[in-house]
């Protein structure tokens, strides 16, 4: 009973933010001389009105679930992981490299191996700033941003010089056995849209995230560190090593993005894949309040805006969608605070 009430209350801020952001967006549309109602009608009918549109939204939401989890793991342990962009890039490249380099064999081996390679790449890229924080106390925000730059430069160098198909900026294709099937092939719905089985992987990752936090000793310790670092020390939790582990797990979540983009969609890695998904993941975690179900809902919502933006491209500037996203994020942050205060007030 109280649980449902809590869920209802915590959904209130994002829902209100969505409505207000749409209203603000309507003003913007009016300002550029268009009719907001027809623009929104297209935006929603093209995304939610067809199976293809829904498939596109799910496809756009999949990587956001991974990067949202990545940010949320950090937040729960009191760490601000701004490095998902770098982690997902390294992870995706590793996935593509494994998919191309592993000997031909059954998908039952190839697919998990490629996914694990991506997780390992992301984990490494997360663990490095984690180590720097644990060992030297240097702040993870700075470290992870720097690691993003290092990843971008390093990957550009490696792909361009050693690993690209001539005259392109992408890697050779992965083995057919490593490809993740698209859902329209498996089920027949979502015809033509690139949504693929990595969506299932995202659901599994959410379940694993929830289980890890609520049911495991490791998750408990990470939550103690995030909520009260003094209590963590008092309880003899190995704070330093746990910080490294938390950052590695966060990186591994980002590293899963390659399963969607590489294994499920393009079947190769291209420079610039998934760019910005990492930062949007922070917004997803914020809006979803670091809760797995919240993250899924928030990712779907941002996925809707991502794809919806493409459908109204001809009518309004594409920046509109970026503005809407930013509005939602700001409003959620503000409304969460305001609502919390007024709830407290109402309760006395």
């Amino acid at each position: 009973m109280t649980r449902w009430r809590a869920i209802l209350w915590s959904s209130l801020a994002p829902a209100l933010a969505f409505v207000i952001a749409l209203a603000a967006g309507a003003l913007f549309i009016l300002a550029v001389g268009r009719d907001p109602i027809s623009v929104y009608t297209i935006l929603f009918s093209e995304t939610l009105g067809t199976w293809y549109g829904i498939g596109q939204v799910l496809f756009k939401a999949t990587p956001l679930i991974f990067t949202g989890l990545s940010a949320a793991v950090g937040f729960r342990a009191g760490l601000f992981n701004v490095g998902a962009d770098g982690q997902l890039a390294v992870g995706s490249l590793m996935t593509a490299a494994a998919g191309a380099a592993l000997p031909a064999s059954s998908p039952m081996f190839l697919i998990p191996a490629c996914i694990l390679a991506g997780m390992a790449g992301g984990a490494l890229w997360g663990a490095i700033p984690g180590y720097l924080k644990a060992r030297f106390g240097s702040h993870e925000v700075i470290n992870t941003i720097m690691m993003n730059f290092v990843a971008a430069a390093l990957i550009s160098y490696v792909v361009n010089n050693f690993f690209s198909v001539p005259a392109t900026v992408h890697t050779p294709p992965i083995r057919p056995g490593a490809e993740l099937p698209r859902l329209d092939v498996v089920s027949g719905v979502f015809r033509g849209s690139p949504v693929n089985l990595s969506l299932l992987l995202a659901a599994l990752a959410c379940a694993a995230f929830a289980f890890m936090l609520k049911r495991t000793t490791l998750g408990y310790e990470l939550r103690v560190i995030g909520a009260n670092i003094h209590a963590a020390t008092y309880a003899h939790i190995a704070v330093r090593s746990r910080i490294i582990v938390a950052m590695a797990i966060a990186g591994a979540c980002s590293g899963l993005v390659g399963s969607n983009m590489v294994l499920g969609y393009k079947h190769y890695y291209e420079i610039g894949f998934g760019e910005g998904m990492g930062f949007l993941g922070i917004a997803v975690a914020l809006v979803g309040q670091n809760h797995p179900a919240g993250i899924v809902v928030a990712a779907l919502f941002f996925g809707l805006l991502e794809y919806g933006g493409l459908t109204i491209n001809g009518m309004v500037p594409k920046e509109l969608v970026t503005i809407l996203q930013a509005f939602v994020i700001l409003l959620v942050i503000v409304l969460t605070k305001v609502l919390r205060k007024s709830i407290r007030y109402a309760a006395g």
Binding site: V224, A227, T233, Y234, H236, G348
Partner: protein, 497 residues
């Protein structure tokens, strides 16, 4: 005409009636004590008077006039100020800067008049005999001094009615005496003081009148001179309570903890703990008496493995002391609990290596739920909801949870550091009983407390730390508060040398 009159105040939080038709009248120029157990409604009543809560019904009169105190800012305009348990000071600023903060004297409209601020603060300190240096940085001040800064803040804003919420909870005995001196000088100059507390000895020594609250109702309103501690305790608790008297241990056995020549230095090499040696036996309570900052924190950290000695050793039954020692920490909110976590989750903090509660890295929620249900029952934690966030419980119930967790650990040694800080009589008595029970079961207990009465009542032996050295080790039955005080302040050493 009373300075403050509270008439028929009622305040309800959900299903709890925090104040039930409370009326109270405080005379101009008196120290009025408001006493009662935890959850009796003292803080709620004062929060209403200070404008932090609004009453459901009832009225407030200041100097005979009806007032509506809608916010702390409105309260200050009416001359009502409050010193909270947790100070609200900016550590990096000076005393004068803190005092004038929010009402700074300015020159030419935009420049802070530092000299003017320092002057007026110095004049105030002198007038009320507060003895605080206006130029000192707050971070460098002792807790007692910081409290005086809080009082100065109110006086600077011309408060005539000062509310002090548990002001002695954070103070060492000499500081308490100084605070009482301050209260008397405030009274002499016509200020009215309302003192929230549950330490009866303090009430008796400093107040003029006492109002007793129980379960949100006024159960007594008496002149201090016409009552005594037993009568007050009876009113607070609602029944006769036998205060525990000292009873020596019957089961003292083998050494549990052996500390040898332990020295802990600051990073610069100054000694915090110097060449301390002692043994603690099973079935014994060894009390440590010391004024805050004389090495007891370092000793605690050393014994529970949070800190390594620079030289010497602390051994628990032959092994280096460490992680699994049961430890009731001094600062419950900062170290002892995770407020956002549920009561049940807090009960396994530091206990997940226990195979009952987690195996192969997976927590056993059934076992943890069972543990919580048992603790709620045996420690009478209210409300009995293991899933509720611990920060939503009262301080006394939080402390019970921490004590329950630590006593539940399979450790031959228990460190009890201020185990009853902030607890009311009944809850403190419960914790004392629990500690004595553990002693009977053959565990060794190190007891740290700033309450000498508590140390004397519970301990078998008493050690005194002064400036990091162990300066005395005595049988509890053969010493007195006066003798301990002499060692604690170093007076005994000077007399001897």
């Amino acid at each position: 005409m009373p300075a403050v009159e509270i008439r028929h105040i009622t305040k309800r939080f959900g299903s709890i009636l925090a104040n039930d038709d409370v009326s109270l009248s405080v005379r101009q120029g008196e120290v009025h004590a408001l006493v009662g157990e935890n959850g009796a409604g003292k803080s709620t009543l004062m929060n209403i008077l200070y404008g932090m809560e609004s009453p459901d019904s009832g009225e407030i009169l200041v100097d005979g006039r009806h007032v509506f105190v809608t916010s702390p800012a409105a309260a200050i305009v009416l001359g009502i100020g409050m010193v909270h348990q947790h100070f609200m000071l900016v550590p990096a600023l000076t005393v004068a800067e803190n005092v004038v903060l929010g009402r700074e004297p300015v020159r030419r409209k935009i420049f802070l008049d530092r000299d003017g601020a320092a002057h007026s603060v110095a004049a105030l300190a002198l007038r009320f005999q507060l003895g605080v240096d206006p130029g000192a940085t707050v971070a460098a001040l002792s807790v007692g001094m910081q409290q005086r800064v809080e009082i100065l803040k109110l006086l600077y804003r011309d408060a005539r009615i000062l509310i002090l919420d548990e002001p002695t909870a954070v103070l060492a005995p000499p500081e308490i005496d100084a605070l009482f001196g301050t209260l008397r000088s405030l009274k002499d100059q016509g200020k009215t003081v309302i003192l929230i507390t549950h330490r009866l000895s303090e009430v008796m020594s400093v107040s003029d009148r006492i109002t007793v609250l129980r379960h949100g109702r006024v159960v007594g309103d008496v002149e201090t001179a016409k009552t005594d501690r037993m009568a007050l305790a009876r009113m607070m608790v609602g029944k006769d309570l036998e205060l525990r008297t000292h009873s020596p241990s019957a089961v003292r056995g083998e050494p549990v903890l052996t500390v040898r020549n332990a020295t802990v230095n600051t990073p610069r090499g100054l000694p915090l703990l110097h060449d301390v040696s002692f043994e603690l036996f099973s079935g014994e309570i060894l009390g440590f008496a010391a004024v805050e900052g004389n090495g007891q924190s370092e000793l605690v950290d050393l014994v529970c493995g949070l800190r390594l000695p620079d030289s010497g050793s602390a051994d628990l039954q032959g092994n280096p002391a460490g992680a699994r020692v049961a430890h009731i920490p001094e600062d419950r909110i900062k170290r002892g609990m995770v407020g956002e976590f549920s009561l049940a989750e807090n009960l396994v903090l530091g206990r997940l290596h226990d195979r009952r509660f987690a195996r192969w890295g997976v927590m056993n929620l059934d076992a943890i739920g069972g543990l919580a249900a048992g603790v709620v029952r045996s420690f009478d934690i209210r409300p009995p909801e293991p899933g509720r966030a611990l920060r939503k419980f009262s301080g006394g119930n939080q402390q019970k949870a921490v004590v329950a967790r630590e006593l539940g650990k399979e450790s031959p040694l228990i460190i009890a550091n201020h185990p009853t800080r902030g607890l009311d009589i009944a809850a403190a008595d419960f914790v004392h009983g629990a500690l004595l029970g553990q002693r009977e079961r053959g565990r060794g207990i190190l007891l740290f407390s700033s309450d000498l009465g508590e140390i004397l009542r519970l301990s078998d032996r008493i050690a005194v730390l002064f400036r990091g050295r162990l300066v005395a080790m005595m049988d509890a039955g053969r010493t007195t508060e006066q003798e301990l005080g002499a060692y604690m302040t170093g007076a005994a050493l000077k007399a001897a040398s």
